[in-house]
Structures are given as structure tokens and as C-alpha cells.
């Protein structure tokens, strides 16, 4: 039997038959005021970044931040892997009532799409087309994020529908997770007319994740998000964001990609992956290759002025800035949003150089606030490498339904 803690009690009599008793919406229906955000399968060698946010005294507090031991086992790659269900316990500091899980999955998708594209995805059960996912799938045979490829399973090709669906599924209601053709979808409208944010994961992965945190113990999963959608929410508590009434342009640098996100009055108007550009791992590889550095020296070169990293860094950053310029133009033209500043999140070492290059080429000031700015940090919380917690933070903020 499963019990909904928010709106209703569902009694699962058999696998196929269930009855639902609606409960009056009470305190459980409000957003969580004590939530843990976790980034799963991030390939961070330190573990799974996790943060705990607690809303008290009219402010969000960072109650805990640490890299926790990953669950035993791997994200299943097919239905047959699903029964191997580990049970995961979080450390004591993260035993909030709710947990928002943001997962890095090669089979996951998050994109800005039109309604037709969304329906098409749902009908075919194919992940949405994105250049990054196409690139990932071209690296067939590699083990990424601990996910084993199902033997003989061909990667989905962009635009290729395996078979014409028998029916056209209805466009789902905003925020309501639906299952179609083996995938779980959820859409939200953007402030951009006609566009929606669509996130999806294979159904078996979603079910696996929903049972990862066992019933009867804190926390239990109240939210499962694709890592990129969590990223998008990670700036909502930034003072820079709030001071500008939720009008912001953000550049998210992850280990494997760079994303642009635009917001108008707190609502998303743009989400785009920077094409043909890798993330911070690629940047560091370029640094090592070009400057002949060992990995241990890359951070010090990026942070100190002894060696100019421009020969290695600028070629990497230039395409990003070009796309950034396009994004600026788009936002100004379509939404009347003119930005002189933008948020650069998740980079860490090298952010100052990026800011210099952006200032030079775009007259755009890139600011790199601490991801935990806007939160009241509890006394005992000490965090190194805050940029590594961006996805976990975003998951918690989104799971708490924080808005402007």
C-alpha cells in the first residue's frame, strides 16, 4: 500500500487495481519547507552532492551540504534491471521529510519544445532531440554515469520514429506526470508563447528512483527531476535574480555541457544547450592539452595570473560567447529583455577569465555568485566547491516550489 502524503490516499489492492481516497488538502498540500536536494549519478568522484534547505524565519536556510555515498547499484538501463532495487539511506543531516532527486541519465531529456513536438515525443516514446543527447548516443559502448547499455539496444536516432503510434496521446496538463509508451513525461508552459519545457525519463528509471528512498523512513522522494531542469531552478534564490525582479540571463556550465537560461519575471523564456561545446571537463582537457598541464595545476593556472590561459581557454569560450550573443539578441528582440549582466553558474575556477572575455567581446558582465547566495547558511555548514552543488540546490529549490 502506498500513501500519498499530499492530496489523497491510494490503496493498491492488486497490481492493476487501486482505489484512491481523496483527502482534504491541508498542510501536506503546501510546498515543502524542509527538503533535501540530491544529484544522482553525476560521476562526481566525491559522491552525490546533497543539500538540505529549511524555510524558517521567513528565509531559506542551508541546513546541510555534503557529498553523500551513492546508492548501491546503478540506474537501470532496461526493465529487466529494475528488480535490482537498492534501498538508500541518507546521512542524519539530510533526514528531512521530503527529498528532491535530480538524476543524470543518458536516457533522460529536458528541452524547450512546442506542444506538437512534445506530443510527437510522447507518441513515439523517443527522447526529445537535443544535440547533446545525440552526441552522447554517438559514444555508444562507453559506460557513462554508471549506466550499462542494454546489449544490442540501438540508440534512438534524432527524428526517427520506430513505428507509427496507434494513437496520438493528449497533451498533458501542466505539471502532471504522465506515462506514454514507456516514458514518463512532464511539461510546463514557458513565458514564451507556444513553448513548453518538457522533461522525460524512461518509465522504469522513474519507478526505480521512486522506490530508492524506502517508505517509513525519512526522507521519501517527493520530486524526481532531470538534472538539467533542476539546474534551471538553481538561480531562483540568488539576490541578483531577485533584485532584477526575476529578469535574468544565466549561463550554466556543467561537467559536460553549457546551457543558457533566460527568465522574465521569474518565468523561463529560454532554455538552450550551447551546441558543439563541452562542459568544464572539456575545458580542463583543452587546458591540459594546450598548456601541457597536469590536472592538479589546472585550477591554479585558471585562478592565478602567473600563466595566461587565454590560448587554451579562449578557443573554448569563443563559441559559448557567440551563442550567448545570439541568446542576448533573442531575448532582447522577442521579450524586450536587455541584459548588461548575466549569471555564470557552476564554473568555479576560470570564471574570472570568462568574465573578461565576455566583457571584451559582448560588453556583458558575467557575475559568478556563490550558488548558496540568497540562503542563510547555518553555523555548522562548511562547503568546499559550492559550484558542485548547483544541481542538488536547484532540485531542492524546485521541489520546494520556490517562485518569485
Amino acid at each position: 500500500m502506498h500513501c500519498a502524503i499530499i492530496a489523497s490516499v491510494k490503496l493498491q489492492l492488486t497490481k492493476d487495481k487501486a482505489i484512491e481516497l481523496r483527502l482534504p488538502r491541508g498542510a501536506g498540500a503546501k510546498s515543502a519547507s524542509d527538503i533535501t536536494g540530491v544529484e544522482l549519478f553525476s560521476s562526481d568522484p566525491g559522491g552525490c552532492p546533497a543539500v538540505r534547505l529549511v524555510f524558517r524565519k521567513k528565509a531559506w536556510h542551508l541546513a546541510a551540504a555534503a557529498k553523500v555515498k551513492a546508492p548501491d547499484g546503478e540506474l537501470p538501463a532496461c526493465w529487466e534491471d529494475t528488480p535490482r532495487q537498492p534501498s538508500w539511506e541518507l546521512p542524519r543531516d539530510f533526514l528531512s521529510p521530503h527529498a528532491a532527486l535530480a538524476v543524470n541519465s543518458a536516457m533522460g531529456a529536458f528541452a524547450q519544445s512546442t506542444a506538437d513536438a512534445v506530443v510527437q515525443e510522447m507518441a513515439t516514446g523517443v527522447a526529445s532531440v537535443s544535440e547533446a543527447s545525440a552526441e552522447e548516443k554517438s559514444d555508444s559502448g562507453k559506460k557513462r554515469f554508471g549506466i550499462k547499455r542494454a546489449p544490442g539496444a540501438p540508440p534512438a536516432k534524432p527524428g526517427a520514429a520506430p513505428a507509427a503510434p496507434a494513437r496520438r496521446p493528449p497533451f498533458p496538463a501542466a505539471g502532471e506526470a504522465v506515462s506514454e509508451n514507456g516514458r514518463r513525461f512532464v511539461v510546463r508552459p514557458m513565458a514564451e508563447d507556444g513553448f513548453h519545457l518538457c522533461a522525460s525519463l524512461p518509465e522504469f528509471q522513474t519507478l526505480w528512483l521512486s522506490r530508492l528512498l524506502p517508505e517509513g523512513r525519512r526522507p521519501t522522494a517527493s520530486s524526481i527531476q532531470v538534472a538539467e531542469s533542476a539546474l534551471m531552478a538553481s538561480v531562483l534564490l540568488q539576490p541578483e535574480f531577485r533584485e532584477r525582479d526575476g529578469n535574468a540571463l544565466a549561463v550554466f556550465v556543467t561537467r559536460n555541457a553549457v546551457f543558457f537560461a533566460g527568465y522574465r519575471r521569474g518565468e523561463p523564456v529560454l532554455w538552450r544547450r550551447c551546441p558543439s561545446v563541452g562542459g568544464s571537463l572539456a575545458m580542463r582537457a583543452a587546458m591540459r592539452r594546450t598548456l601541457g598541464l597536469d590536472e592538479e595545476l589546472v585550477d591554479s593556472v585558471l585562478d592565478e595570473a602567473l600563466i595566461d590561459p587565454r590560448p587554451a581557454l579562449e578557443p573554448f569560450v569563443r563559441p559559448v560567447l557567440a551563442q550567448l550573443e545570439l541568446a542576448l539578441a533573442y531575448l532582447a528582440g522577442k521579450h524586450g529583455l536587455k541584459f548588461e549582466r548575466a549569471l555564470l553558474m557552476g564554473l568555479g575556477a576560470g570564471a574570472a577569465h570568462w568574465a573578461t572575455y565576455a566583457e571584451e567581446s559582448l560588453h556583458l558582465r558575467l557575475v559568478s555568485p556563490n550558488p548558496f547566495e540568497g540562503l542563510v547558511r547555518d553555523r555548522r555548514v562548511e562547503v568546499d566547491g559550492a559550484e558542485g552543488y548547483l544541481v542538488a540546490l536547484g532540485a531542492a529549490i524546485a521541489g520546494a516550489e520556490v517562485s518569485l
Binding site: E20, K30, G175, A177, T220, A221, S222, E401, S403
Partner: protein
């Protein structure tokens, strides 16, 4: 807070799990276990109480067996005492009804006037005891009343009335054991006997005697 447009939650509400350890599929077996444990404990307590009660009962039975002879004797003596007490009560009732009239009868001889000649002195007979009243299924063991009354009849001859009156006056004092104050002159008439050439008068006086009360 409004619902955020940046929260794309792939978890359905039906998949939400409760963090509370209180779940029906846990509480039912727990409840059933507690019920079993409670019943087992209850049975254990009953068993212990039963053993205790049996032990106590056995101890009492042993004690009674040891005291049986002495108790029987004590009961016998108690019953005998009751019996003797009742017998004594009846006999003391008899003693209370004993009539001893020798002394007043002796004194009577002294107070008889010269001119009175007693012809008869008698107690009236007692009524027969009816120990089976009409309608009774079995005879009674004793009378329902404990009082008997009789009359003393004094009959004689005299020359005139005065000696009889004198006799009756004499019997008013000092003869309480023999007569009460209740008297009746049954007859006073001329008799056929003569003395000194005169016809004598016969009299009969009936006195109520003191009641015999056969009660302590």
C-alpha cells in the same frame, strides 16, 4: 508560494511514499503480534492464578483433613450443649410451674371459723391437652399455651353467713400461693342437715387459683 513553473516533477502523486513508520501493512501484523502476545500473557497469568488457587485449595483441604476429628468432636459437643440447654429450658419451665401449697393449706386449717364445717376442698380438673388441633396433619409435640389455671372450691356447712364471710376475709391475706382475689360464691342455701335443732346453711365458694406458668 505559487506553484513554480520551473519544477518539472516526474513523480506521480500516487507514487509518493510516506516517511511515517505508521503504515497499515506494518501496523496490522504488529497489531496481530501484540494481540497474540497479549493473549499469551493473559493465558500465562490465568495459568499462574489457577496453579496458585489450586495450591491454596490443597493446603486448606490438608488443614481441614488434619482438623477433621477435632472439629467433629467440637461440633458434637456444641450440638450436645445446645440440646442440653434446650432441655434445661423446658425443665426450668416445669420448675416455674411447680405448685407448692402445703403451707397455705396448713394455715387454712387455722383460719377456719368454729361455726364452719368444711365438707370439701378441691381443685377443679384441668382441661385435657389437645395436641392435635382440627386440621393439623400431625400431633404437636407440646401445648401452644404455657399457662394453666384452676379453681379452688371450698364447700361446707355453717350456721349463718357471718362465719363464711369471716373465712373469706381470712383468705384475703397470706394465701396468695393458694388463691387469688377472684372468687365467686357458687351457692349459699339451706341444707337438710341440722345442728342444735337448727337447719344448717351449705355454701360453696370458688376461688381462682394463681395461674401455673410453665415458663422461666
Amino acid at each position: 508560494m505559487k506553484s513554480s513553473s520551473v519544477h518539472l516533477n516526474l513523480l506521480k502523486s500516487s507514487e509518493l511514499l510516506s516517511s511515517s513508520p505508521v503504515r497499515l501493512r506494518v501496523m496490522l501484523p504488529v497489531g496481530a503480534t501484540l494481540a497474540c502476545a497479549g493473549l499469551a500473557l493473559w493465558w500465562g497469568i490465568l495459568f499462574t492464578q489457577l496453579v496458585l488457587a489450586k495450591t491454596q485449595a490443597q493446603a486448606i483441604e490438608d488443614d481441614l483433613a488434619a482438623k477433621n476429628k477435632a472439629h467433629a468432636e467440637a461440633i458434637q459437643k456444641r450440638d450436645l450443649a445446645r440440646e442440653l440447654k434446650l432441655q434445661l429450658e423446658q425443665l426450668e419451665g416445669y420448675r416455674a410451674g411447680v405448685r407448692a401449697v402445703g403451707a397455705p393449706l396448713a394455715k387454712l386449717a387455722e383460719v377456719i371459723p368454729l361455726r364452719v364445717q368444711l365438707k370439701e376442698l378441691s381443685f377443679t380438673p384441668l382441661r385435657a391437652q389437645v395436641l392435635q388441633p382440627p386440621g393439623a396433619k400431625a400431633p404437636l409435640f407440646g401445648p401452644t399455651e404455657n399457662v394453666e389455671t384452676q379453681k379452688l372450691v371450698i364447700a361446707g356447712l355453717t350456721t349463718k353467713e357471718t362465719p363464711v364471710v369471716s373465712l373469706m376475709e381470712s383468705l384475703e391475706d397470706g394465701f396468695e400461693a393458694l388463691v387469688t382475689s377472684e372468687r365467686k360464691i357458687n351457692s349459699f342455701k339451706q341444707d337438710s342437715a341440722e345442728a342444735d335443732g337448727r337447719r344448717l346453711l351449705s355454701f360453696e365458694v370458688e376461688y381462682t387459683m394463681p395461674a401455673r406458668r410453665f415458663a422461666k
